[in-house]
Point group: D2
Chain length 306, copies 4
């Protein structure tokens, strides 16, 4: 099979070839009820499965002999859910094992999940209300025989009404911003943490702990810059979790501008704010262990953050 095409002309004689590729089924909405007792348990996820491997003939010839149908990938997700989900990470590991072991030409893939949370209504056995305050995420990339497992949280919106300053920044001809020693600091936390390995006994417990660490560090850091809060958040996670090698954070600075009430004969001592939509600051960084910095080139070379 030849995936290459000779091209003459302006572009020279270099061949046009197929580069990296992946395909599958996205956002498979799975709700799993565990009802072995009268006290039901509920798991709610959106799962994406994409395969890597030798799919060149589909691209260049429309030959589907290797194309495990995306519908088949969807069916597999539902069938595997019959045995339970457990955690997004564990479920993705099961899917990856299945696809890479079942088809010779599937050498890896990318599996991802979002999980949504529900609370019992007054402790009810089978009635729940959805907790929309955050989404739990997980991505498993299998490449060259290695598993790269990243868990995350997204959309966790937090705000401090004080304990945030911003001053000492350089001023050039385009600088008009005033310095401040007291401002609102607000952000939507998107965090992703890379596990050093996949042998984590309880992914759900780690998730709950990381979430708590992020919230605590945000709340309790007296902030001279959102960058400082961010670094403390990442460090807190790493200090509490030796199984995590790296944390990446993407934090918008959701600006809250104090409204000038002077034209109306009123003061405004940090009480009345306009919450702006756009533009917003966007602060992103990786926090990692020094000895893991070079350990996972696939993830370290990802230029995008979250």
């Amino acid at each position: 099979m030849d995936t290459h095409e000779h091209v003459a002309g302006a572009g020279g004689t270099s061949r046009i070839i197929l580069g990296p590729n992946q395909y599958g089924k996205a956002e498979v909405r799975l709700v799993k009820v565990t009802r072995d007792t009268a006290r039901h348990h509920l798991e709610d996820l959106s799962i994406t499965s994409q395969l890597h491997g030798d799919f060149a003939a589909a691209h260049t010839e429309g030959n589907n002999a290797h194309v495990v149908a995306t519908d088949t990938q969807k069916n597999t997700i539902y069938a595997f859910a019959r045995d339970g989900v457990g955690s997004p990470e564990a479920f993705l590991l099961r899917l990856a094992e299945h696809f890479t072991s079942s088809f010779d030409w599937v050498t890896g893939g990318r599996w991802a999940a979002e999980q949504y949370f529900w609370n019992r209504i007054n402790g009810h056995d089978h009635a729940f209300s959805k907790d929309k305050s955050e989404v739990r995420t997980a991505v498993l990339l299998v490449d060259g025989g290695r598993q790269h497992l990243v868990a995350g949280i997204s959309g966790l919106t937090v705000l401090k009404t004080t304990g945030s300053e911003f001053h000492g920044f350089p001023r050039d001809r385009y600088t008009t911003l005033a310095e401040t020693t007291d401002r609102i600091l607000a952000t939507d936390v998107t965090a992703k943490w890379r596990y050093a390995g996949t042998g984590v006994p309880d992914f759900n417990a780690v998730y709950a702990s990381v979430r708590a660490e992020l919230l605590d560090a945000f709340a309790n850091t007296h902030s001279l810059a959102l960058q400082q809060s961010m670094f403390q958040m990442g460090r807190a996670v790493l200090e509490a979790h030796p199984e995590i090698a790296e944390v990446r954070l993407s934090l918008p600075n959701n600006h809250h501008f104090p409204v000038d009430l002077e034209p109306f004969g009123l003061d405004n001592p940090g009480e009345v704010f306009f919450a702006a939509d756009r533009p917003y600051g966007l602060i992103e960084a990786a926090v990692l262990r020094e000895d893991s910095a070079a350990a996972d080139p696939v993830w370290n070379t990802i230029a995008g953050f979250c």
Copy 2:
């Protein structure tokens, strides 16, 4: 001032006139921090102000002598917030009183608010995380000297894993749905309740109570139809709150279809579901007191629901 235009031709000689109209500023994002002690309080709202009255000249001649600028309406909202918000309903009543008493030609208006909720992070004095599970709403319509006050909740997503049946419905040539005695029942609650009057001592307490009544009724009604759950939800609110004259509910039926696992040699005793996006059922009704049914023709004649 003549708002009418004579039109000849196909449409006859009837004049084209200005009908009902309103204008103002929408979605004014207001964050109010109350910081008289070290324990800060946070109120987060989106407020819309629209005026009714004699604005015909602006429409027909571009004469703005009566047009209280939408920017002025925005400024007024922020200036009034300096004294605190208290509750969406109380704040809208203040705004309405101001605009209708300050400008002779303003005879009424429509004021609306959304309120967003925040929880303290571990009881922190000034750090909060946003609770996105619902939005609180309020609308105040002032028309003909009367105040029509409606409060509401939207986006409260709930689900029961059992305790829901659906059977006994008529079958015609287009009916293929199977009957069921056990299904997932899930919806996003949008409710609006009309107050009999505006003299409610504590709107926030009523909100919390109505929310609890809605959740309890949903959870504890063994449901033979989403209509039945809905009516019980509305009735529970009215029974608990004599100050409320009517409740309107708009409930999508968020379908969760059991996945057929038989092709894979598996059973599926109500455990694995596909959560569908569209289409969805849409069930809407008003529940009200018999003696208030004719009491508020403005609201009773609203054809739309929520």
Copy 3:
């Protein structure tokens, strides 16, 4: 059947009753291909069907004997589409006729459609690209034996870079806005027009014409207020279309603020603008024929605009 419940206590002895209600299936995504020749035709809609009638027993007792399943309503939509759609209005009229004539207890209903547009790719016979610049809408309300038919357009975003002024507005203690004789005027047009009757020969032709009238009136009105542009837009539609009794418009004022470049030593003669998200102005009005003002109380009493 008794839809009433006696309630004692705080609310007095008034009974709690079921008020107006409707139910059905929402957002049925229908794509119809007409392929009787090699030149295919494509219709793409989202259709909602809701029934009115005697459904009290479902609410009060969970008795579904009258509940035409929402799944059946969906099936009916797809089955009827086999004969073609034609226009949203014509299709909704067919659905309404079917449901009100097939079930004794169905006295009316609300049927609604959105239509999405596609253009041929270079005139291709069967390849299309989606035109997302607007959505066509239609609502048919059948109530008390009368048909109320409203067509519309939504999301049509327009902008003028000049030819818009705003001055002469009243100034109070909360007014800070400067007057201007040259500003950007931008809005997203949502318009709904009520047909005097349903006997319109070609709804598609009317839609195209109304769209053109709205665009022309917006473009060619030198605007002293968005209200003035709006009224001219409505009037243009009524003058061109005797079969239309009323137009309702809901127009956000999408603010474009000139950026102050003076701190950077630059002028800004109406060239560089910040396009704000929120808040925005919101200008709404009905424009109608004088002799039709009282002709349709159901629609005239709708307080909401679009």
Copy 4:
């Protein structure tokens, strides 16, 4: 300055360090009117500026001496726009040159733009309607003294009513999908193309041409797999544009399922379809010149697609 922190305990004694980071202002909404003649021109963009360099002290100490404020970045964007935008790519190159040359510690950055399109209303000099059918994108990454420039298109939704087959795929125990020789093929095109260098005379002309090539290839490829259409789309771009080194495509397979009308006594010869929301197929690949495959490791190692 020490960005490292010694950590003892479970995680070992490895230090926790700051990894890759970037920060700036996101989604600066810029509208530029060029009005040197009565025929105005309109450019509408959302621009993001993020800096790379030595910002460690902000993270570890809250020292902002190097932190060019995000507000300053926003001001710079507006000030530069006074001289015109031209094209997203050219504008990003100007911004990058400014920031990397003005501050010693700024070694690179990521600049991104979205551009929105407007059409003249009937050729009007200063009235426009927005064309929402697609968004133009551009990203400029400056890293290690090299410029990596990627342009793109997103949200371009296309559909073929025939000329698409899917069969010959492998069947395992989870496969239930039927083969088909005639189906609807629909997708939302997200494409990104990497320029071999930044010396492109007319980025706008290339954009228009690439868009046309993508549409033509989609329309005119008889498709045995969406992968095949995708590869032809990428190849067409590369064949027409020697200045482009690589194209990455991310194409959802927007499923349109034929509705089974047999229960209603009707056939359905490819005429009536349900357009599903989720799940959807997701097909992604890079198409590139063989001699450029290893030329840009920064971009080639990006695991994510679009």
